[in-house]
Amino acid sequence: MAILVNKDTRVVFQGITGATGAFHARGCNAYGTNVVCGVTPGRGGEEFDLGPRPARPGEKPGDGPGVKVPVFNTVRDAVTKAGANASCIFVPPPGAADAIIEAFDAGIELVICITEGVPVMDMIKVRRVLEQRRAEGQKVRLVGPNCPGVITPGQCKIGIMPGHIHLPGNIGVVSRSGTLTYEAVGQLTRMGIGQSTCVGIGGDPVNGTDFIDVLELFAKDDETKGIILIGEIGGGAEERAAEWIKANLKKPVAAFIAGATAPPGKRMGHAGAIISGGKGTAEAKFKALEAAGVKISRSPATMAETLASML
């Protein structure tokens, strides 16, 4: 089970021949992700060397055989010729929005955009297209941009997170922050508590997937027994998630909000992490979540502990 990605997910890397795209395509392959091809416009027909993948059941333990995958000019080719159903985007900001929409139009069901620094005006348009496609009945989802990606431990990693800190299990993690997600996962794994799926939704003000989208999936997933939600100051996404949890979610949720000490009006790295006009403070988010029965971890060091106490 788990959510969004599993061992059957067939991944195309958009921007596979760039330095970062190549590095992480190889990293995902080494984790065991089923990387089926790459896309770089103008480089169609080339072959990309992903290096060895892990041994599969029935094979000798250790490194499996080396994997070479085709590079296509278009995402449509990746879908029709290689059967890709998920995409991981490493295209630099000027072309990122175009890459996302290309993936939508090619029929990719799960589009994960890692790229940091996409202009918000581009994301407003992308979001508009996404909503339109979904209203028309297309099965499509965008995670990111500016996110670490999605991982179902032991099955499929699409993104830049360090795979080795994860452990297969029953806790869902959803977060606006990258390294803070690793922190939570590291804590869980150290306590021997595994994760069903970890989703980084990204730190930009306009993105593809909200907390509620992921919580809905976790709620329906039998394998997920508890959830860690990691928010940040700025915006109202955590408050909306709290409302939804109160009305819909029976599973235990622990939460941490980064930025309780951040001064108003200052952007804390992420474009979305800013307290403006007295809105979006950590305190307001803590309060909303607590009212929804979520247990708050006041310190980032006790995220796993807090959830464990509810299980």
């Binding site: 970062t20 590095f23 992480h24 900001p93 000027p94 940091e116 620094g117 996409v118 202009p119 918000v120 005006m121 994301m123 407003i124 348009k125 979001r127 508009r128 670490p148 830049i160 997170m161 360090p162 800190i165 977060s175 922050s177 990258g178 390294t179 803070l180 997600t181 690793y182 922190e183 730190g203 003000p205 306009v206 990691i230 940040e232 100051i233 915006g235 109202g236 996404a237 909306r240 941490f256 980064a258 930025g259 309780a260 000490t261 951040a262 200052k266 952007r267 804390m268 790295g269 992420h270 474009a271 979305g272 992490a273 006009g277 007295g278 006041r298 310190s299 980032p300 060091a301 006790t302």
Partner: protein
């Protein structure tokens, strides 16, 4: 990125957003020439001398004054140019006025408020308007939320004329101003989207006695992510208005915010960097800064980041907190060692490394001879640095 009012108005002019006649002035002599030119062009002796700083609330702080003659304008320019202007947005130290904008005086009938910004919850651009022009909008929103009008713009269509008209009716504009208001909103929206703004605030937007609608102010922030398609922004940046340390960090590709405490932080990732500040506070101390070296920083950037923290006189201890995803721990360690080389570091340093190549990183640090206290978790690190700073 923020720009000055006069630069914002130059952008308005390009898009046809109605603005008063005005001329920027960097010196008193230029202010005098500007005032004389405006008086000649408009036939009215009234001009307004406006301090150009990036903070709002300039009028209340004494940075905007009406001059009744050219000589009057010169006197005001002398007074305002070089003053430390204190507003609710500058902090108690204020901001030195280095530039002026001389503008024609207008016969104002009403002052309104109009802003455009990215509404992250609606994932649209929102237009906010209020009859309470010239006021602090945060205060209006708090005390009279019913006086804040809001519309959302469909990105595929742009601002619809009916939406602008609806706002105009709710603001109580007369027939003679209706079309002019619609035109102002439409052109301003075009400027907002084409110039990649993240905020556009016109406070006040004025209705003149003859019914004209004019942007009397222009506060513009750009979306930094869109810098790659706006090479002209470099020319609009006024470095004197920026925090020098934050500016320096930005040039090195680092995200840095100065804070009031005494524990310097070097962290990878914005969320973890904020959390590191939070955990220091929970331990009873205060962070000196927010510093995110990003996911892919190189040794040079880490070196830069570490020396920036070291140079700050208020820093009494340093906490390095790294959870390497794509960031390799050996790169961090090499950067720290390179920055510390040759310096007599007196403050305690606590380093917590986790993730990729962590063993190599720890080895580099212990081989360096630097006096570094290792920590094995975020809590452990925070405890150790707070104890070390308080014990010193």
């Amino acid at each position: 990125m923020k720009i000055h009012e006069y630069q914002g108005k130059q952008i308005f002019a390009k898009y046809g957003v109605p603005i008063p006649k005005g001329i920027p002035a960097m010196t008193v002599a230029e202010a005098e020439a500007a005032a004389k030119q405006l008086i000649e062009e408009t036939g009215s002796p009234i001009t307004v001398v406006k301090a150009q700083i990036h903070a709002g609330g300039r009028g209340k702080g004494g940075g905007v004054k009406v001059a009744k003659s050219a000589a009057d304008a010169v006197e005001l320019a002398k007074k305002i140019l070089g003053m430390q202007l204190v507003t609710h947005q500058t902090g108690p130290a204020g901001q030195k006025v280095r530039r002026l904008y001389i503008e024609q005086g207008l016969d104002i009938a009403r002052e309104l408020y109009v802003a455009m910004l990215v509404d992250r919850d609606a994932r649209r651009i929102a237009v906010i308007a209020s009859t309470e022009g010239g006021m602090e909008i945060e205060k209006v929103a708090e005390e009279h939320p019913e006086k804040i009008l809001k519309i959302w713009i469909e990105p595929a269509v742009g601002i619809a004329a009916y939406q602008a008209r609806e706002l105009a009716f709710q603001l109580g504009l007369g027939k003679e101003s209706l079309g002019k208001f619609v035109k102002l909103l439409t052109t301003a929206y075009e400027a907002f989207t084409k110039e990649d703004m993240s905020l556009l605030e016109i406070n006040p937007l004025v209705i003149l006695k003859n019914g004209d609608v004019v942007a009397l102010d222009a506060k513009i922030n750009f979306d930094d992510n869109a810098e790659f398609r706006h090479t002209e922004w470099v020319g609009l940046l006024d470095e004197a208005e920026e925090d020098p340390v934050e500016l320096e960090a930005g040039k090195a590709g680092l995200s840095y915010v100065s804070l009031d405490g005494n524990i310097g932080c070097l962290v990878n990732g914005a969320g973890l960097a904020m959390s590191t500040m939070d955990v220091i506070k929970l331990e009873g101390a205060e962070p000196a800064n927010f510093l995110d070296v990003g996911g892919g920083a190189n040794e040079e950037q880490v070196k830069k980041a570490f020396s920036m923290i070291l140079q700050s006189p208020k820093v009494k201890g340093i906490f390095v907190n790294i959870f390497g995803g794509i960031m390799r721990c050996d790169v961090i360690a090499n950067g720290i060692v390179a920055a510390a080389k040759g310096l007599d570091i007196k403050v305690p340093i606590v380093v917590r490394l986790e993730g990729t190549n962590v063993e190599i990183g720890k080895q580099i640090l212990s081989d360096s001879g630097l006096k570094i206290t290792p920590a094995d978790s975020i809590a452990d690190g925070a405890k150790k640095i707070v104890a070390a700073v308080k014990g010193a």
